[in-house]
Symmetry: C2
Subunit: 152 residues, 2 copies
Amino acid sequence: MTAFYFLVFLSASAAAAATGSVFLPGKWYQSLKKPSWTPPKKAFPIVWTVLYVISAIAATRIALGENPAPGLALWSLQIALNTLWTPVFFGARRMATGMIVIAVLWFVLAITTVVFLQSDLLAGLLMLPYFAWIGLAAALNWRIWRDNRESA
Amino acid sequence: MTAFYFLVFLSASAAAAATGSVFLPGKWYQSLKKPSWTPPKKAFPIVWTVLYVISAIAATRIALGENPAPGLALWSLQIALNTLWTPVFFGARRMATGMIVIAVLWFVLAITTVVFLQSDLLAGLLMLPYFAWIGLAAALNWRIWRDNRESA
């Protein structure tokens, strides 16, 4: 079952990732004012690939463990919110709505990580880089929104 | 835990549903040739609300039952694919890519329904209207794509 779970969670992550190739950060995004601590453009696909793989591994460990339901329910919510964010921000260019989505995603990821940690230490630890990255992405969404109100 | 699961699955469905209010079928969609059996516009929000609620109930039953992990893993994949479809079709107006997404979603829903049926008859039956609707939506996507190649 390990391969089945990993494949299913990785496919869900691929659906989320697909939004990034459908809604590319184009001229609009490039023209926005961004803070100095914005990660280099090249970093995003690399970081996201790593995060999707490790969060699929984390979910697989939860699926194989005892009492998998609470963690997997939360994992399904975070992947839906993750899939929603890119189209809202880069597709519809709705920076304020994107801010709401990513704030809720960050909150849900915090709960998911705590629930994972309680039932499987390694699964919980594997969620931490993802949680940290969404924190950075949320801060970036906030600054870009605040500094580019006229481009909304 | 019933309320927790239902709330989490309904929230994931709400994330998927939110794509419909961000990417409204506007003039572009209205101008497309559509088959005679296209459901009336008013039907869509009503049908989707019902389907999201009953699929959240189905997932809640699976979460509370024995061996919830396979069903919940599949449920997370279908909700990510569902969240992806609307932005691809109505946002990016990529009818061919939308066709791939909805075909994969339909296939995943078939497996999800079978897995649900095996562990909880009612949960499986509750997925059937959703599965049927996505079949109709996939047929609609196919016809609209075929009949409007020049509008792609």
